[in-house]
């Protein structure tokens, strides 16, 4: 498999200061955990969750360092249902009903922090900023800044649209509604673009093609390759990883998309590519 079968998990390593940030605990977290066990222990990491949909937290019970004493894990994420804490949503996967080990039995020190739109200082000059995206549950984009380099994620997210009738000939047309709808959609989209403005590397949801999206997937909370390439270019993004592939895509299909979209004609100065399993990018 070339482009990957695991659900989202991104490792951000800062070798010179020995810091580790992980974004999302999808099934990819299992392999990352195994790899970390072979590196220098104990593991100390900040784990940022974009949202609490299952495909983004399912790897957590299989993260080997969580079972090792001395591991220190700080888990951050947006909380969609106020009455359930992040600990319950993420750690709650480890009840006997689903999994043979309970969270209380984990040897690691795990702390949970709920996030909103905010900015935080992780020390050693690492700054993390968050931004709400457009997805059916609260979902955060992350912007990580370190020594003048900027890394951003914007997934899972769909572009905002004007959902009101815009055809003046339509009997239900309402000029005021149409105009306000247009204004709000444009404004919300530009807020997201501002968030990743000038990023050295952006990882962006591009699950569908524009055609697939218009035919079937409007309102599902995912982006299109065409829109993302244009938006990244507008925001002077240097490198763009097209991410969160549709689970039904084949490697051949994505290779075809690479030929079609990942070029200067389409993306201008932004260097775009389709994210692959285990791929390493140095900034």
């Amino acid at each position: 498999m070339k482009y990957g079968g695991n659900t989202p998990c991104i490792e951000i390593r800062f070798p010179e200061i020995n810091r580790l940030i992980i974004i999302d605990a999808g099934s990819g977290l299992r392999e990352l955990g195994n790899e970390l066990m072979d590196r220098k222990l104990p593991v100390e990491a900040h784990l940022f969750l974009t949202h609490t949909h299952w495909d983004h937290i399912m790897g957590f019970p299989f993260f080997a360092p969580a079972y090792v004493s001395g591991t220190h894990l700080r888990v951050y994420g947006p909380v969609t249902y106020e009455e359930d804490t992040l600990e319950k949503v993420v750690g709650g996967q480890m009840t006997y009903r689903y999994f043979p080990i309970r969270e209380a039995e984990l040897a690691a020190n795990i702390q949970y922090f709920s996030l909103k739109e905010e900015e935080m200082d992780l020390g050693d000059g690492i700054i993390v900023k968050t931004k709400y995206l457009n997805h059916p549950v609260l979902c955060l984009g992350y912007r990580i800044e370190y020594q003048g380099k900027v890394f951003c994620t914007a997934y899972d997210t769909e572009m905002f649209r004007n959902v009101f009738i815009t055809d003046p000939e339509h009997p239900d047309y309402d000029a005021e509604m149409a105009a306000e709808g247009e204004l709000v959609a444009t404004e919300q989209n530009s807020l997201i673009e501002q968030f990743y403005q000038g990023a050295d590397f952006l990882v962006h949801d591009s699950q569908y093609t524009q055609e697939e999206y218009e035919q079937k997937f409007i309102g599902w909370g995912h982006g299109t390759i065409e829109y993302v390439c244009q938006a990244a270019q507008r925001s002077q993004v240097k490198k763009l990883a097209l991410f969160h592939h549709d689970p039904l895509r084949s490697d051949e299909q994505i290779d075809g998309f690479t030929d079609k979209y990942c070029n200067k004609d389409y993306c201008g100065d932004t260097e775009a590519f389709f994210a692959q399993e285990g791929q390493v990018v140095e900034l």
Partner: protein, 287 residues
């Protein structure tokens, strides 16, 4: 005693407020395929309380948006048509029942159970390839299937506590315990509420027969089986609770066999269902 019980409950239901005209219209709109944002905006705008609730939701800690959202149009763009539609539907219905207090049923758990059954029934509808515009009916039928318990627990709290105890101790279903204590079940009371609110036949039938789908008319059968299975799902995974602590495994197998709905497929939807519950739960806080 059951005559007297029944009469008291009947009086209680008679005194419940009717659904507002706006709400009746929202229900109508929700059952139309492809409701337009324009229609939804206009209908909700007619009801200042409903408009207030939508805006309260988007400005709540749940979204924690940096800027205050003051217009419905803006809310629809940011939250989406479906969320606003479901919000309107659920706030109105739950709002009617939510203030009912009693000592026997934990109402937060009750509504969490109801929401789980609503979203699971709708997920089953999707799996059964039910037309888009009919899916909201599955959600509503699931959301409302147990509301007949509310007047029973409200008017006869001690007796209802006895039912809950019986259910646990004797390992019987709650409606069987109700039958022993009251001589009738929450399905009967649910039907009376459905008639009072003039809910459509499908939803009324789901409220009346969700424990005995085989007794309903053939036309309502798929909806009722979906609600019945969604109810089992909520009980097996202990998502919320409406007092029915006992899962009769034989009955589960029987219902699955009769309905031709595959448990494996439902289990595969576990993630999707969890997401939908999270999403729908906010409605309880705003209603």
């Amino acid at each position: 005693m059951s005559e007297k019980h029944l009469q008291t409950i009947q009086n209680y239901i008679n005194k419940m407020p009717s659904l507002s005209t706006t709400m009746t219209k929202v229900l109508e709109v929700c059952n139309q395929p492809d409701v337009s944002a324009n229609d939804l905006n206009k209908i909700i705008s007619l009801d200042p309380v409903l408009t207030g609730n939508v805006l309260k939701l988007i400005n709540s800690a749940y979204y924690a948006l940096p800027n205050h959202v003051a217009s419905l149009t803006r809310a629809i763009i940011i939250l989406g048509i479906n969320t606003v539609k479901n919000l309107a539907l659920s706030t109105a219905v739950i709002g009617q029942m939510k203030n009912s207090t009693n000592k026997s049923l934990d109402m937060d758990n009750f509504w969490r159970h109801s929401i789980c059954v609503g979203v699971t029934a709708r997920a089953i509808a999707v799996q059964q390839k039910i037309a888009m515009h009919q899916r909201e009916e599955f959600f509503l039928a699931g959301l409302l299937h147990d509301v007949g318990k509310i007047p029973m627990a409200h008017c006869f709290s001690d007796e209802y506590t006895d039912c809950l105890t019986l259910c646990k101790e004797q390992k019987i279903a709650l409606h069987e315990a109700e039958m022993q204590v009251f001589g009738f079940t929450h399905q009967h009371c649910g039907r009376t509420i459905a008639d009072k609110w003039k809910l459509n036949d499908n939803i009324a039938a789901a409220m009346e027969y969700h424990h005995e789908p085989e007794k309903s008319d053939e036309v309502h059968r798929l909806l009722i089986f979906s609600v019945a299975i969604a109810d089992l799902y909520a009980n097996i995974f202990a998502i919320g609770s409406a007092g029915n602590e006992y899962v009769d495994e034989e009955r589960v197998l029987q219902i699955l066999k009769q309905s031709n709905i595959s448990w494996n497929k439902i289990a595969q939807m576990h993630g999707t269902i969890q997401k939908a519950i999270e999403k729908a739960s906010i409605f309880l806080q705003v209603s």
